[in-house]
């Protein structure tokens, strides 16, 4: 039987694979830097280079390790109706895509910054590698990435419902209102029931999938007549005013 620790355990494996891919890529980039004396030209060629595409190829193993772990979790998901196998596959592919995008964007941005900084400062390949490693994703951060991706995936499923729901459907922002809650999440939680277009115009479209960002514990969802004690506009307003 699969359980959540399948994904948690995979974080270590993924972190190792990411480390390997990152080292290979930094070495390739460093060699590129050695072939030019002009730091500005190097920085430009770095910007022109498809770092994301290259990293994506190198990270295929990590992505499939994550996808396999998630597929096991999905297969054990309880629904109150039978879910077709094709739907599960679509869900797994969707989540794989989200994971791919977030991890590759984070790491490639980090590598680009560190390599160009290192070249400009006259650092050696090893020094640059060290900088990239120390400023890049640790296992704890990988855990965060996995958590964040799972929650973004959950929001994406809700977002798909939004796409087919009538335009006048109202939504509320649910989740904890405590001392850890970010200001952006407090602002959204303090808002009353809003339509999708009102949410987008007030907070932007990305909040529908990303919430308040990394490690966010909140989400927009369809408001019910039943009402929910997990939408806390009053508490959020009070905390905003503190």
């Amino acid at each position: 039987m699969a359980n959540q620790s399948d994904i948690d355990n995979s974080a270590q494996l993924i972190a190792d694979l990411v480390d390997k891919a990152r080292t290979e890529l930094v070495n390739d980039l460093y060699k590129l830097g050695l072939n030019t004396d002009d730091a500005t030209a190097f920085a430009q060629s770095l910007l022109d280079l498809d770092v994301e595409g290259t990293l994506k190829k190198k990270l295929q193993k990590a992505t499939s390790a994550y996808a396999n772990a998630h597929r096991k979790v999905l297969e054990s998901t309880i629904g109150f109706a039978e879910i077709e196998a094709t739907t599960l596959t679509t869900f797994a592919q969707l989540n794989e895509q989200i994971f791919d995008n977030s991890i590759i964007r984070t790491i490639s941005g980090n590598i680009k910054t560190e390599v160009s900084k290192g070249i400009l400062a006259g650092l050696t390949a090893n020094e640059i590698l060290l900088n990239v490693s120390s400023s890049s994703i640790s296992n704890a951060q990988m855990q965060t990435l996995v958590n964040t991706t799972l929650n973004s995936y959950s929001r994406t499923i809700t977002n798909q419902m939004m796409n087919v729901a009538p335009a006048n459907t109202k939504y509320v922002y649910i989740g904890p209102v405590d001392t850890k809650t970010r200001e952006i999440c407090l602002s959204m939680a303090s808002a009353d029931r809003l339509t999708e277009s009102q949410i987008k115009s007030r907070f932007g479209a990305s909040v529908l999938v990303d919430g308040g960002g990394f490690n966010c514990r909140h989400k927009w969802e369809i408001a019910s007549e039943e009402g929910t004690s997990f939408h806390k506009p009053k508490e959020a307003k009070e905390r905003l005013n503190v």
Binding site: N3, Q4, S76, I78, F80, L150, G175, P176, K180, R217
Partner: protein
């Protein structure tokens, strides 16, 4: 007989009733109060030491730590004319894990608390009656 609009509305009400029962009243799917935690876990939860913990829910015995399980529960497919699907899109494995710990929040035999099943029946039955064809129809049996 039914419309997807009817089931969409019903599904959000069922979602919130279910959340109130499990996470608000801290009762399992059979209607029993959740049993206490191990001393060590209870201490960590009370102290708010769990990573990303919802600090407003430190004293509950309901399965709320970060709130991810609660948030994730909802429609995982759009409602159709024949029904709706509620479940967990990414946290389903936790449900199985909780079941192993004797903390049933949804099982194959009892997916929803009895009260919520009655609520669904109370909404579906009048809708069904409302949409049944009107008038009388005579059936001749035999020759």
């Amino acid at each position: 007989m039914f419309s997807s609009k009817f089931f969409r509305k019903l599904s959000t009400n069922v979602r919130d009733k279910y959340r109130k029962h499990i996470f608000g009243k801290a009762k399992d799917v059979h209607g029993r109060s959740f049993k206490g935690y191990s001393t060590q876990y209870a201490k960590r939860k009370k102290a708010g030491k769990i990573f990303r913990q919802d600090l407003t829910q430190t004293s509950t015995k309901a399965p709320i730590a970060t709130g991810d399980l609660l948030n994730d529960f909802g429609s995982i497919l759009d409602a159709t004319k024949s029904g709706f699907t509620l479940g967990w899109a990414s946290q389903g494995a936790k449900v199985k894990w909780l079941e192993k710990l004797g903390r049933d929040i949804s099982t194959k035999d009892q997916p929803l608390p009895k009260g919520i099943i009655n609520f669904i029946t109370s909404k579906v039955s009048p809708e069904l009656l409302k949409n049944l064809p009107k008038g009388k129809k005579r059936y001749r049996i035999g020759k």
